[in-house]
Structure formats: structure tokens, C-alpha cells
């Protein structure tokens, strides 16, 4: 696990949460650096929201510790923790105006009236909704409501901000816009943010570091390009981006590595690292790293037949049968003139050895 760049503001130490027999979070540890934008990424039920709830104080850990700024906050009530939280469904108080909503945390902290006025004004400016003070939440659009929720979480200067799938209810366009806006707020305020999402694209766009979670465990922790280029295992490889998996037992290894795959067929390609005959292996290959090669290419290519060509706007996706039961997907920019291949065409495909990644499981 990689250490954060600065002193940790928040430390999770052997954190565990079980509900009856169900393990929601299984013994995870993590240091989060001051000012970092960290994303917990995983499918629903992977335990990411449970971790957030334990940090916010809504769930009590079965074992382990949550350390905020050097002090254990396990025993603190949610209202004593001073952590901002943005909910997925906004959770704005419907009977209060925008002003009253944002002023609420300040009122609870007994700020003087002038300070409340000033801070609410600043917070509204930050989310670009000045002039909306007297509106009620139901009179605002979903995107506006979410911005008010962000303003309310920011306004009391909490050192740590949590986001629980805050953009989940918005449509794609607005979501992408809000991603950039939140990123901008992070850059401006330099406040530590922990973001929960199941959207890998969102995680890649926004984060300094990503924690990929599955079944309550951390599958991999790393920055976005690390996770994409060097997935630690097949879960990460398939959850982040698209992957081809080549899996089987080593049949021979001389110039090329020959693997017996499912169905008794073999597939062979260049691989330098020695692997014993009979060993089980699994490789991951990103579709965009595959290219067509000339028929007489000596570097060693894989033969196949194009089964399908799918046009997806800026890219074309080819499904290439390289055996009776094995299909490899590749992706090419649509703009490459003259490289377009037809359905049914016999092709040779290849890739650079470093594009291939051997997985541990």
C-alpha cells in the first residue's frame, strides 16, 4: 500500500464492520493525506458507504479505529466530529430556505449573526448560486440542490469532507459538469475529500488516489493511471476500463509463450519472463493496445477472424475470434483512414509485450 504524500489527516486502522454474519468491511487500513482527494470505488454492497458511515459516526466499527487529526473519534457522536458530508439524495431540509439550510451548521455552532451572513454568502458564491437565499429546496433543480448541499457541507470549515455518491441522481451531462466543478472546489479550498462512487470514470476523472473495493476488502489502492495500467488482479482489471483476459496453463515457453486455453486450443505470443511449463497463468490486455499487423510480420502475431465491428463514435470496436471459443476485443480510433477492416476478414493482430500484464489471480 502506497503512503500518502503528506501527514495523514485521517487513518483507518484495521477497521472492521459486520452485520450479523455478513462482513461489510473486512479489516482495512488506510492513511489519507491532508488535502488529498481520495475515492472509494466499488460495486454496490462492496462496503464503501459503510466505511463512510463509520467515519461520519453513523455506524460503530465492530473492531478497529478511526483516527482524525491524531485522535480516535470512535467514541464521538456524529455531531461532535466536525466532518462535512454530502448525501446522494441531497438531504436538504425541505422546510428551510437555502439560507437557513446553509446557516444550520453555523447556528448549531453558535456563530454570531454577522459571521453567519458572511459565511453563507461566501459559500453560495463558491457554488455559484448567489441570490438563491430565499428559495426553498423544492423550487430548485437537482443540480442546484446538490450544490446547496455542497455549500452546507463546506460552510463550517470542516477539515474533512465526505461525498456519498453525490452525483448519482443527476443525468450524464450535468454529472460530468459537476465533477469538474467539485474538482475545482477541491483545488481552491485544498480540503481533504473522500468520495464514494461506483462509477469508474468518475473516479478516474476526479481522484488523486483511488481505493478499489470488493466484498468489504481493498482490492487495490493507487492513483488513476496506476490502476488502469497496472491492475493488481482481474477484479480491478475488469472493474476499471475494459480488459481481455487470456487464461490457461503454460504448454511451452521458447521464443514465444504458448498457453493452452479453455477448450484445448493454444494461443502464443512473446513473453520474456520465464514461466515453468504447466503453470497456471492469467494475462490482461487492454483493447486499445492491440493493433493490426501485416501478414508477414515476423514479430509474432495472433491470427484471427473478425466476427463483428461495432462503431461507437470516436472509436471502432472489433470482436476477433482467435480460436473456436476465444474472442479478443480490440479498439481503434475511427479516424484512422484506410485501417478499417470488414466483418469476416482474416487478420493478424499484435501488441507490445509491455502492454500485456500478468495478473496474480
Amino acid at each position: 500500500m502506497q503512503a500518502p504524500t503528506k501527514d495523514p489527516i485521517l487513518r483507518l486502522i484495521n477497521l472492521e464492520k459486520t452485520f450479523g454474519d455478513v462482513v461489510a468491511v473486512a479489516d482495512v487500513s488506510l492513511d489519507i493525506g491532508d488535502g488529498e482527494f481520495l475515492t472509494l470505488l466499488g460495486p454496490s454492497g462492496s462496503g464503501k458507504t459503510t466505511i463512510l458511515n463509520m467515519i461520519a459516526g453513523f455506524e460503530f466499527p465492530t473492531s478497529g479505529d478511526v483516527i482524525l487529526q491524531g485522535q480516535s473519534i470512535n467514541a464521538l457522536l456524529p455531531e461532535k466530529r466536525n466532518i462535512g458530508l454530502v448525501f446522494q439524495n441531497y438531504a436538504l431540509f425541505p422546510h428551510m430556505t437555502v439560507f437557513e439550510n446553509i446557516a444550520f451548521p453555523l447556528k448549531m455552532r453558535k456563530f454570531p449573526k454577522e459571521d453567519i451572513q458572511r459565511k453563507v454568502k461566501q459559500a453560495l458564491e463558491l457554488v455559484q448560486l448567489s441570490g438563491y437565499e430565499t428559495r426553498f429546496p423544492k423550487q430548485l433543480s437537482g443540480g442546484q440542490q446538490q450544490r446547496i448541499a455542497v455549500a452546507r457541507a463546506l460552510v463550517f470549515d470542516a477539515p474533512l469532507l465526505l461525498f456519498d455518491e453525490p452525483l448519482g441522481a443527476l443525468d450524464k451531462k450535468l454529472r460530468e459538469h459537476m465533477q469538474l466543478e467539485l474538482k475545482e472546489i477541491h483545488t481552491q479550498l485544498k480540503r481533504t475529500m473522500i468520495y464514494v462512487t461506483h462509477d469508474q470514470e468518475e473516479a478516474l476523472v476526479m481522484s488523486d488516489r483511488i481505493v478499489v473495493m470488493n466484498h468489504g476488502r481493498f482490492e487495490q489502492v493507487g492513483n488513476p493511471d496506476e490502476l488502469y495500467e497496472k491492475p493488481a488482479n482481474s477484479f480491478v482489471a475488469s472493474f476499471i476500463g475494459e480488459s481481455n483476459f487470456i487464461e490457461g496453463t503454460v504448454a511451452a515457453h521458447d521464443q514465444r509463450l504458448t498457453i493452452e486455453i479453455e477448450g484445448g486450443e493454444t494461443i502464443s505470443f512473446k513473453w520474456s519472463e520465464r514461466i515453468q511449463k504447466g503453470e497456471a497463468v492469467k494475462f490482461c490486455l487492454r483493447p486499445e493496445k492491440i493493433f493490426f499487423v501485416a501478414d508477414d510480420d515476423p514479430g509474432g502475431s495472433v491470427h484471427g477472424v473478425i466476427r463483428d465491428v461495432i462503431y461507437v463514435g470516436e472509436t471502432k470496436r472489433y470482436a476477433i475470434d482467435v480460436g473456436r471459443s476465444k474472442t479478443i476485443f480490440m479498439r481503434q480510433m475511427s479516424t484512422r483512414i484506410g485501417q478499417g477492416r470488414q466483418k469476416g476478414e482474416k487478420v493478424h493482430i499484435g501488441w507490445h509485450e509491455e502492454s500485456l500484464r500478468r495478473l496474480s489471480e
Binding site: 455531531e79 458530508l85 438531504a91 431540509f93 426553498f136
Partner: protein, 270 residues
């Protein structure tokens, strides 16, 4: 064509039904209003002449004022007690982690299903032991028994619809459990509490059976006063009292609809 014809027959039938409901249920109630203005010393329809003397009597005669004040006092105290118990019980029934919550819920609503006379009989026997017959306390307790189920029915319905993440948000923003209830939960279930309060108040103001058992000899409630008046003399003061009741009821409905309109405006209610 056929469809339109069916529709018009349906409309005619609906019209007949509505009219008969109006004629048989609403008009007799409203008839009390003109009858209260009669000049005669007995109830007459159509009323003869025009006089406010019966209304004047209702508001000045001790024999009418005292039962009215007693009834209002009884209904007010009952309402407060019902709302406090009803809100607490509703919170426990909706939010609490209790074994047999469903059974408990039904148990709390059961006084609504038991015939009033049975409740009255049971309460009478018990209250006699506690020397509660003829006391305000005794009658408040009895009316609370029948009022609490109404309060629970309305308030639990409100709580089930309530989005609990709002409470989590309040806690996260620095509000204690108590402040969260006062600033978030209570204001949002307040419409339900007000509606429950109106139910309890009217239930208590209107109730006669339990009162008959528990009233003793010293006091009278307004319905009991009206009942005895009708039994013995049938003066137009009864009609005047009814008129006051009707006006109060209409006033309440108007007030409630204003509250509702305000809530619709800010989107608290669909």
C-alpha cells in the same frame, strides 16, 4: 357513443347519490342555524321572526357558559396529553427496535375497535376504585384512551413517509439528537401532529358516552348540557349552541386549508 351514454347514466346516478347525501346528512345539520334565530320559546321550523336572544343566552347564561368552558378545558388538556403520548408512541413504533412491533401497534390502536360502551363500563369500574369519578383528571384519562389511537394513526403515517437521512444530515451538521428533533423532525411532522390534535380535540369535545359514566354530579360538559336540554325542554339555545359549533368547525377547516396551501407552496406536500 355507447361509452358516452354509459358515462351520462353514471353521472346522473352520481348526481342523485350526492344530492341525497346532502339532503339527508348535511341539511339537517345546517338547519340548526336558521332555527337558532327564531323568536319562539320552542324549536320551530321554519323559524318565526328574527332574534339573537338564544345566542345571547348561550354566551351569558352560567348554565351554558360553565359546561362550555369545562368542555373546552377537557378537550384542550386531552389534546395535549394525546399528542405527547401519541408522538412518543409513534416514534417508538416507527423508529424503535422493539420485539413484536406489529402486535404492539395493533394493541395501541385497539381502543378504536372496542365499542365505546364497553370501554366506558371498564373505565367506570376501575376509576371508582381510584376515586376518579366526577374529576377532570378522570375524564382526561378516559378521553386520552380513545384519542391516542387517532393520534398514533395520523402521526405514524407521517413518520413512515419521513426521510430519515434528514436526521442523519442534521446530526452530521452539529445538531444533538434533541436539537435534531426540534429543528428537523418536529417541524416536518408538525402537519400530522396538528391534524392529530384536531381529531383528538373534536373527539373529546363531542364525546358523550364516557362522560355519562364518569361525570358524577357536580359538573356538566357541553354535549351533556345540550342532551339534557333536549330531553326536558327543547329550547332554541340548543340550536344556538349547535350554530357556534358549526362555525367553529368551518373556521378550523379554513385554517387547516391555509396551512396546507402554504406547505404546497414550498413543496412539503404534493
Amino acid at each position: 357513443m355507447n361509452y358516452e351514454k354509459n358515462l351520462s347514466i353514471g353521472k346522473v346516478l352520481l348526481g342523485i347519490l350526492t344530492t341525497s347525501i346532502f339532503v339527508f346528512l348535511v341539511i339537517p345539520t345546517i338547519l340548526a342555524v336558521p332555527m337558532s334565530f327564531t323568536e319562539t320559546r320552542y324549536l320551530a321550523f321554519p323559524p318565526e321572526g328574527f332574534s339573537m336572544q338564544w345566542h345571547q343566552q348561550f354566551f351569558t347564561d352560567r348554565r351554558w357558559i360553565e359546561p362550555t368552558i369545562f368542555s373546552l378545558k377537557l378537550a384542550s388538556i386531552t389534546t395535549v396529553v394525546c399528542l405527547v403520548i401519541g408522538t412518543m408512541a409513534s416514534l417508538a413504533l416507527v423508529r424503535g427496535v422493539l420485539p413484536g412491533k406489529r402486535v404492539l401497534h395493533l394493541f395501541f390502536l385497539s381502543p378504536m375497535m372496542v365499542p365505546l360502551i364497553v370501554t366506558a363500563f371498564a373505565v367506570y369500574g376501575m376509576f371508582a376504585n381510584f376515586r376518579l369519578i366526577g374529576t377532570l383528571t378522570g375524564m382526561v384519562v378516559a378521553h386520552t384512551i380513545i384519542g391516542v389511537p387517532y393520534a398514533i394513526l395520523v402521526i405514524t403515517a407521517n413518520l413512515y413517509r419521513f426521510d430519515t437521512t434528514l436526521e442523519l444530515a442534521a446530526r452530521n451538521l452539529g445538531a444533538s439528537a434533541f436539537k435534531t428533533f426540534m429543528h428537523v423532525t418536529f417541524p416536518l411532522i408538525k402537519p400530522g401532529i396538528i391534524a392529530a390534535g384536531v381529531f383528538c380535540f373534536i373527539e373529546s369535545l363531542d364525546e358523550l358516552v364516557l362522560v355519562l359514566f364518569l361525570i358524577g354530579t357536580t359538573k356538566l360538559t357541553l354535549p351533556l348540557r345540550m342532551f339534557s336540554e333536549i330531553e326536558f325542554r327543547i329550547t332554541p339555545t340548543v340550536a344556538a349552541a349547535s350554530t357556534v359549533f358549526i362555525i367553529a368547525a368551518i373556521g378550523t377547516i379554513i385554517a387547516l386549508s391555509f396551512i396546507e396551501r402554504k406547505e404546497k407552496k414550498i413543496g412539503l406536500k404534493e
